[in-house]
Symmetry: C2
């Protein structure tokens, strides 16, 4: 048996988590049994949805357990294999992140397709965040050419993918982000307009940016952004509800002044999770792979170095420290 370091949940946070909720500890790795592999992680993903798993509540994935290693998306290299399905040197995606090495059955590791993209993209535009953007925008919200699309957290991992997919598909895009630097990047990504939510009320800015209203809202934020979307929705508008990061730590206590517009405008709101679309991943790889190859979709990462950096990278998501995907490089 050999050891590796893994981040453990030390205690459940109440409200915003802090470093005391995490502990880096040595764990023993199982010896390799028949059909298993050992993977050395190279990139770890930290994502807002992980906050939900720190609560002791039933949801679509089980909560993290106190005293146990955390889990999350990771990309690594196979360094030892007793499975015919994976060879030493293969690059794999898996969900045993927050640790240096992982051992498990080969079926829990997915060899990434040979598409000539940097490894870290399998945690970004070709991974969970890209797929979330793709299926949320095109399947859930049924956004189509000519639509006016509003997306919040547009400088984030999912939002920046939404902006670019929407532009690749011929839509008009308004993105919101916090601060001038992020807004400039959102415009660089192709957005027709960018709203700085720190600079004034979202509803007022959205009414100015979209005087004809919006057909689609891709929600990563909830709260005032969602209310602004209610205010500006055109008839038959579709909202894809992907995240409500404003509420992850505090719980929701927003009043929605404009929610009644759902009726007159016949707004459809739909919550979703990307893994309901797993059977359609080939469509996603085909389209997203094409957009990346042609330069229509670009990636940007905010990278922290070393296993020690993981919890702070996660915490920084909630103060909006990232541009694009937040990753930890081992």
């Amino acid at each position: 048996m050999s050891g590796t370091r893994a981040w453990h949940l030390a205690s459940r946070p109440s409200g915003l988590p802090d470093m005391t909720n995490f502990e880096l500890k040595e764990v023993e790795l199982e010896p390799l049994g028949e059909g298993t592999v050992r993977v050395e992680n190279r990139w770890l993903s930290v994502d807002p949805y992980m906050r939900g798993r720190m609560n002791d509540t039933k949801s679509y994935v089980p909560p993290f357990e106190i005293g146990a290693p955390l889990q999350g998306g990771a990309v690594g290299k196979v360094v030892e294999s007793s499975s015919p399905d994976l060879a030493v040197g293969d690059t794999v995606f898996h969900t045993m992140g927050w640790r240096e090495q992982a051992v498990g059955e080969a079926k829990h590791f997915t060899k990434v397709p040979a598409m000539g993209v940097p490894d870290e993209q399998w945690l970004g535009n070709l991974g969970l965040t890209g797929a979330t953007a793709y299926f949320g925008l095109l399947r859930v919200a049924e956004a189509k050419e000519g639509d006016i699309v509003f997306v919040s957290a547009a400088a984030g991992a999912v939002g920046s993918a939404v902006v670019q997919i929407a532009k690749a598909k011929g839509m008009t895009v308004i993105g919101s982000a916090g601060g001038a630097e992020k807004c400039a990047w959102v415009r660089e990504l192709g957005a027709n307009a960018a709203i700085d939510y720190k600079a004034g009320p979202v509803v007022k800015q959205l009414m100015e940016a979209a005087p004809k209203g919006i057909d689609v809202y891709f929600d990563n934020v909830g709260g005032d952004h969602l209310d602004a979307a209610f205010a500006c929705a055109r008839n038959q508008a579709r909202f894809a509800i992907c995240g409500m990061i404003e509420d992850y730590n505090t719980g929701s206590n927003h009043a929605f002044r404009y929610i009644m517009r759902m009726i007159a405008a016949r707004i459809r709101m739909q919550g979703f999770l990307y893994f309901d679309f797993l059977s359609d991943m080939p469509d996603f790889y085909r389209d997203m792979g094409g957009w990346i190859a042609s330069g229509k979709v670009k990636s940007r990462e905010t990278v922290r170095e070393g296993i020690e950096a993981a919890p702070q990278a996660f915490l920084d998501l909630f103060s909006g420290a990232n541009m694009g995907k937040m990753l930890v490089k081992l």
Copy 2:
């Protein structure tokens, strides 16, 4: 030219309307031109949606104008006709309510089908309220046999139709209403359980009444009821958003503590208006006519007498004074 009395909008209410917003005045009736008819109203409908038309805001129907007669659903008898399409004595439905007599082109009056039902049902279960219940439940929420359905304002005009349609289609139904008498009637209509929202928090009562959660929520109320539905929704739950009467006078200032469940449970919320389904009215008449004939759907009206009673009947909708459909009999 001859005269008739009609209720006019005297002023726009701010918040809850009162009698000062209404004025009963004589209006001149146009002389009958070619293709027109004169109708003596027998039944007037007062409905919560009319509150929205008292505001000076753009919506799916134009606002009422100050100093002009109010409009609304009505059933009457043709008393004079210069149109080949309608004969004296025909019973017609039309939207020139809030008045004793109406004159207009025959195309604005719909002869009610000969189904042997009392005239007032064309303003209730066979009218706008029944069609709203039918299309909202079956088309918008796509409720089906075996579903667990929650409906608010279940003793109201639309809600009582929802309860009965859902039972006729083999669903489990939980209705909410204000007070023991209304709840008893909701159970009489066939609901498996009735929640008295005046007796305690809706979310707690709904969790007890639907320990397995709900598949469908038919919303007439908004606010705490909608939040309770978020809390109790099962995966892939569908919400038909028909009305938010709690907010019509005050504007919405509710916090939705459980709205984030939209994501994990993949809830779909859809606002709707019955008139988007006008082309499917034959389906509605066939099904609803059958249920009425077989006794599966029963009607109950709260009837006020005389044109003078109309505004107070309307105002009483907001204190929940009605059981079933609120009507004014002339």
